[in-house]
Amino acid sequence: MSTVVLLLVTGVGLGAIYFLVSSGLSLIYGLMGVLNFAHGVFLTFGAFMGWEVAARMGATSWPGFVLSLLVGALAGAVFAALTERFLVQRLYERHIEQVLITVGLALAVVALFDGIWGTDPRFISGPAWMARTTTIAGANVPNDRFVAIAVAAVVLVALVLFLQRTRYGMIIRAGVENRSMVTALGIDVRTAFTLIFTIGGAVAGMGGVLASHYFGYVSPVLGQTLLIFAFIVTVIGGLGSLTGAAIASVLVAVLQQFANYYWGYGDFAVVVLLAVVVLTRPSGLLGKKVAA
């Protein structure tokens, strides 16, 4: 029993990390049609900058930890904004080229990180409370899982509100479909697109810092490892659906947890789930038909 609880709660914790990666991805992919291979790079960059802060300030104190989170988010946001402005934006409405350019960027930047920070993992530890455990139904659940879950929940709510309360969601959906017509209505669609990328990058950067605490280290491939799961989550959840991404994140992570524990083939199970979902519901669990 306690094992099941443990697997479940830690699964949700892992799901929270997945969500932080996939929400930005889903936002960018679902709204803008850009399958962003560079998303992992935003995350890694955020994680490294967070690590740099931690290395100077010490993330074992709560203020240091929070500061490293903020710096990570900022780093991810800036990186994403620059990527959008100087690379993606030049290729509007050419989705395949956009994908290609993010593939190239990911390749280059991961190599650059290798050069700057080296291939060795950089270890990190957070406030002592996070390394301790809380006992739930006999299971010792590590506390950092709760932090991840809380941050993910806040991000989910904030993003949903942003899309509901502002015109941006609408502008972007329209802009993806027909960018020039949106500009012809007097809307500066470029700014809107950059904004979405920036938000996605900020969330990824924050996710990077949290993931580095979750894994205990930062390395140049941190983001790329998570990215493949984030892709899967995004497709399972349905393009552009944040709630879908949230549900799929938890589903994938929990499935992976249980399959790894009882069967040893967690990643296999996730792939099977993906194949089943795509074949039975090609647009994902909550996906609407997003305009091409």
């Binding site: 094992t3 080296g118 390394a131 010792n140 894994f215 280290y217 490892t225 790894n260």
Partner: protein, 391 residues
């Protein structure tokens, strides 16, 4: 240009009877001996590659008394990057063999070592594998040697720590070649000594270890042997700690390189480490030479430095005794016993296993960081791997 007399003029005594070969070497006109080193300059194991390379240069320097020459022939190391990829390594090997290289060395990656061994056999050149731990390299063919230790030796060291007979050993390992190799080694060594062996194999891509930590406890072990490589180690140890695995039984694992010492944090004090090498472990002249050489060259001796160092010694031995003849080199190495940085070391004739002492250690806090402290030195014959039957 023919070799200048400067080398022979250096007053120091050349190693092991090389003088007798002087004439033969002079005939070959002092041509440089080219040695191809294929190792991870880049790629996931680049850090290990760097240690290996520093050790190799130090070892060569030491074995040639700083001349870099054997019998007046300069030993020229030609480096190639394998980037952790066997295909790249094979391409490099083919290139070098095509240029008539007779000696290849290097690699920290087991898969590459196996592919290189294959190339060595196909093309009849000498191959001295680097830190790659796979037991399969031992005895794979007559052309392949190794300059590092193998998993069986790690495990045998852990066996030395298992106080008494029987008991239940649980192996917590990644479900990959390294982990499976360790499990097999534990079954062979400790199982052979009468211990009951159980295992928890964790998928290599797993990122969440709390569940597996519970599995270890549920197995009710008397000794827990952890075989883990890679960046997830810190997370795994934390999970073990959080699930109180350390209260369940003594935990043994291999001590990796210095970059990982801080990954354990305070947990490090509760683990019994078996160690291949750390600079303070060995107290002998050769090790002192290794540390001095490497420090001088601006490097830092670490886990795999001696593997490179020994490779350097082996190359010099092979060239000194075998000249350009690969079979003669093999003869020169088989059964060779010498003083290595870890102490007296020998190459077993039957399967080319490198018989060497091993260490046990603990981590202790030193200011902000953690440093290893030597437990005991386990003599070479006690941790010698069972003879590989060859292919």
């Amino acid at each position: 240009a023919p070799s200048d007399s400067g080398s022979s003029g250096s007053g120091d005594e050349p190693e092991g009877g090389a003088t007798t070969e002087e004439a033969a070497a002079d005939e070959s006109g002092g041509d440089p001996v080219q040695v191809g080193i294929i190792y991870s300059e880049t790629g996931p194991l680049a850090a290990y590659g760097k240690q290996y390379k520093e050790g190799l240069e130090a070892g060569l320097d030491y074995a040639t008394d700083g001349t870099g020459e054997v019998d007046g022939r300069p030993v020229e190391l030609v480096y190639r990057d394998d980037a952790g990829n066997p295909d790249t390594a094979v391409a490099a090997a083919k290139d070098l063999i095509g240029q008539d290289f007779k000696i290849l060395g290097g690699t920290v990656v087991s898969g590459i070592a196996l592919a290189m061994a294959e190339q060595a056999a196909q093309n009849e050149v000498l191959y001295i594998s680097g830190p790659a731990a796979a037991d399969a390299v031992t005895g794979i063919n007559e052309f392949t040697f190794r300059s590092g230790r193998q998993s069986l030796q790690d495990v045998a060291t852990a066996g030395a720590m298992l106080e008494d007979e029987g008991g239940k050993v649980v192996v917590l390992a990644q479900d990959n070649a390294f982990g499976q190799g360790n499990l097999a080694a534990v079954e062979a060594v400790l199982g052979g000594e009468g211990a009951e062996v159980d295992s928890v194999l964790v998928p290599e891509d797993a990122t969440e270890f709390t569940g597996f930590a519970r599995q270890v406890i549920d197995a009710d072990p008397d000794l827990i042997f952890v075989a883990w490589a890679g960046a997830t180690a810190g997370n795994m140890w934390q999970s073990l700690d959080q699930q109180d695995v350390f209260d369940a039984a003594p935990v043994v694992t291999g001590l990796a390189d210095s970059a990982t010492f801080s990954a354990y944090g305070p947990i490090g004090e509760r683990i019994s480490f078996l160690s291949h090498y750390f600079p303070e472990a060995a107290d002998n002249e050769v090790n002192q030479a290794l540390v001095d050489h490497v420090n001088e060259a601006g490097g830092t001796p670490d886990l795999f430095t001696p593997d490179g160092f020994v490779a350097g010694q082996m190359i010099v031995q092979a060239v000194a005794e075998g000249g350009d003849d690969v079979n003669a080199m093999i003869d020169a190495l088989e059964g060779w016993e010498f003083e290595g940085p870890k102490g007296t070391t020998s190459i077993r004739e039957s399967d080319h296993a490198l018989i060497q002492p091993m260490f046990t250690a603990t981590l202790v806090q030193d200011g902000d960081g953690w440093v290893p402290e030597l437990g005991e030195t386990v003599p070479a014959d006690q941790v010698a791997p069972p003879e590989a039957s060859g292919r």
